[in-house]
Subunit: 524 residues, 2 copies
């Protein structure tokens, strides 16, 4: 166990911005990273892994700014096992009140073979790099990547080296999502019993969900003595993703009788951050996702629902309110005033300034004129769609589309680029294809459409739809989003929004999420 | 343990068509149920729970027809603890070569309180009903609903009664998704050790994913001695869903070293059935879903992917081919002939007759004329969009939509109803709203739109989009789907498709998935 913290306390280490953000297509902008970090800090996450500073200028800037701004959380950056990575990471987290460096190396036979190091050579490298990191900050986390497939004796040996060199947290990653609960608990338990000095550090668990067991494996590791769980919002991450923060946190809360450990998370903030991460990553949560899925609290429909509601407890182990779902929220309408809008925004977790409220209110009124009831999700969509449009390079001025069974769709699009007004008319396979072609005619580009997705925000045929467009151009990936009651217009705006982001990243003007020159999977 | 089957063999009991289908909005038609049942039978599922015969005429017909058609699987129906339910169930499964009745009652204090039965009264009821079921078929499964929250002594007592009355399988449901792996294993182990006669029956585990641990709980139960896992494709089911078949099956395959049990599932058929269930239920699978998510086998993108590919093993524990993902499949084009299309369909798991192929080929050519590359997913969409259009009550004849920034969208829709040609022009908030309004003008109805969803089937701006529309009218829920390169046209067709299904169900003309008069949660 550990003498550093209360033995019943489990630290929540969120890596949405590092391991989550690196999943193909989940790239976030600088501003989005800052927003998510603020929400994580605010909900009580103990440690935020904010990025991989050496990987790109954007990662470095995001980690630095998050380090400077965060109020409560420890801010951590990732570094491979070399001095350059570690120095860059130290520089990035420097402004945090509680900086941490997380350095790692792949210790399994498969991973040792990549840099072609012997066991002894790798051991020396671990000693040197952890010592170096500890000379720069007091809080150093070390991970033997692919730990669950590393030889037992060697794993004990390298962990002992890392502890002696000054690591304060030892993280045991199940990099490929290979382990199972009993094995996960046993590994941590045996390491703590075996490795000299293990009682003076915190052991962490980092699981992937390839076999659908990340949550159970993480909780089993805690039963085995781990006191830090590494996770992401919505289980975002490569392949099947990482352990989902909301699942481990709610499981510890609901089953505290058999898992007597507590976290510092304000669970009522779960739904809001889940929705924001889904939006900015473009990774929607499936209806039947545990805790945060649309159906997670929905029971069998039909005539017998009433009877069931009378005996809620019989089929409900958590209350929707526990995760921040307010079931009985009343929709706004055309007669709702500015104060009502501000109240609603506040309930939804958005605090806005007077100017932003003024702008939002105009757009709210416009929407309320068209839609009888304006639901919470409509308001969230309204918040999103107004973000950073003013400074965009490409602006939509007007558009008209004709489509149907009579022939190809025809789109007329008018855009402003650098003060110049340009118009194009194009035919296409459906209204969206025609519109995108017209936009490409006005602004020729080679960006490839990776994802086109439409989701109705609320119920009813006059629902706002949120369109997500993901583009890829020479390794730059950018997601644009727009909400409108008109799906074709939302598609045009989302596409232009994504193009604007590609343009920003092309110029590498410090907007974050630029092309990474380095991957954590590179040979170090 | 059990002496009935090989002790290393775990039976897979699929309840996609019963517990999965009853999740709000996942209603399937009769034909869809038959198709899914055929795929389940074909992939090696040991027991198919095909429905809840007493619940509705549609459920009864689906179970009967699946019982008659299935070649290998045991066909099971659900029945509450009363003679009427059990008789109806026996009648439904009668034509199966291997019929099973699954009867249950809620045994926890909370559930006993609903019918207001004492422990003794409930014990008598269990004895009577299981005896009755066993007099009708040889294969009887009994479940104490909410077992994980039932008092230990009482649980042992009622299980013993069920076994003595002739139950051959005892299922232990974690109805509310409340348990954790160690507890799940321990419960089964202690039951088998404690209950007289336990060694003569098979113990089953039925988990829900409310805390994200259904897969681990099911596998832990197997470690504890259970030899039947109850699960659904994609983890479909109420709230956070049931245990996902693909996860337990692949976990047993990948980690056979520590979980030395085998199933009879042909894992290469997983992706196809996963896609079909996602389609017919309208429940999309999230990108980062284990095994079947779009990203499950996708690694970090970018310039370093090449390096990673050289060391696939370092980050991959399963091969995409193991679950039926053929990564290197070549797209078809306008020069592809009928034989190429048939080959492709066969690779994708569809066997079509000459007439269907002829019809498909016409539509394939039409698509290939418009689209440079026709991908596997395009072909799947083509297969879907042609289904059962001929006999529909409402038919789309033509449509034209004008939309843009200049004012409200205007839709002109022409439809045929019972041989009569009707046209309507309507304005709306966006092209889809205008189109839906025009359809409602032609065919007035009170069905409420519960879900409107658009997904691009393939990449590129000329991608086909699949639109799902879910309608609800007086408790009848119907999902319509259509694929087209024109999203507005696909929306119109999906909406009309859903309306046609509502009409069928209104008439209760034996098309299945009609309104259930009875819920399994009713007091028995």
């Amino acid at each position: 166990m550990t003498n550093i913290i209360d033995k019943d306390r489990v630290l929540i280490f969120d890596t949405t911005l590092r391991d989550g953000e690196q999943s193909p297509g989940a790239t976030m902008t600088h501003d989005e990273k800052l927003e998510i970090a603020e929400l994580l800090d605010d909900m009580g996450v103990d440690i935020i892994e904010a990025g991989f500073p050496i990987a790109s200028e954007g990662d470095f800037k995001a980690v630095s700014e998050i380090a400077e701004r965060s109020k409560n959380s420890v801010i951590c950056g990732l570094a491979r096992a070399n001095f350059k990575d570690i120095d860059r990471c130290a520089e990035a987290v420097r402004k945090s009140a509680k900086p941490r460096i997380h350095t790692f190396i792949g210790t399994s036979a498969l991973h040792r073979a990549i840099p072609n190091l012997t066991m002894d050579e790798m051991a020396d490298k671990i000693h040197e790099t952890v010592t170096h990191a500890r000379n720069l900050v007091d809080n150093v986390q070390w991970s033997p990547m692919d730990a669950t497939r590393t030889e037992w004796d060697y794993l004990c040996r390298v962990i002992e080296i890392a502890i002696k060199a000054g690591a304060t947290t030892i993280n045991i990653p199940d990099t490929v999502g290979y382990t199972a609960p009993a094995e996960s608990a046993d590994l941590i338990k045996r390491l703590i019993e075996t490795v000299p000095g293990a009682d003076e550090v915190i052991f962490a668990t980092h699981c992937h969900n390839d076999l659908g067991m990340a949550t159970a494996n993480s909780l089993a590791a805690v039963a085995g003595g781990a006191r830090q769980i590494e996770c992401t919002i919505n289980g975002l991450g490569e392949r099947a993703g990482n352990t989902a923060l909301e699942e481990v946190v709610m499981a510890l809360k609901v089953r505290n009788d058999i898992m007597p450990w507590k976290t510092g998370i304000d669970t009522q903030k779960i739904m809001h951050i889940s929705r924001r991460v889904a939006t900015v990553s473009g990774f929607n949560v499936q209806f039947n996702k545990a805790i945060v899925g649309k159906n997670a609290f929905a029971h069998e429909s039909g005539i017998h629902q009433d009877g069931m509601l009378k005996n809620k407890e019989t089929f409900e182990i958590m209350r929707p309110e526990d995760v921040g779902l307010s079931g009985t929220s009343l929709p706004l309408g055309k007669h709702s005033g500015r104060a009502a809008l501000r109240d609603k925004l506040s309930t939804l977790g958005f605090e806005v300034g007077d100017n932003q409220l003024k702008d939002l209110f105009v757009r709210f009124k416009d929407l309320a004129d068209r839609k009888k009831e304006v639901f919470d999700d409509d308001i969230v969509a309204l918040m999103r769609s107004g973000e950073d449009a003013e400074n965009d390079h490409l602006q939509l001025v007007s558009m008209k589309v004709v489509c149907g069974t009579g022939g190809p769709a025809e789109a007329t699009v008018e855009m402003e680029i650098d003060g110049e007004d340009l118009t194009a008319v194009e035919n296409g396979d459906g209204p969206v294809d025609a519109t995108f072609k017209a936009i490409r005619k006005i602004y020729p580009n080679t960006a490839r459409l990776q994802l086109y997705q439409v989701n109705a925000v609320t119920e009813g045929t006059d629902a706002q739809a949120t369109v997500s467009v993901r583009l890829e151009e020479d390794g730059i990936i950018a997601t644009g989003e727009s909400s409108n009651t008109d799906t074709v217009m939302a598609s045009a705006k989302a596409y232009i929004n994504a193009l604007n982001r590609v343009i920003i990243r092309r110029g590498k003007v410090g907007e974050g999420a630029d092309t990474r020159e380095i991957s954590y999977k590179d040979v170090t």
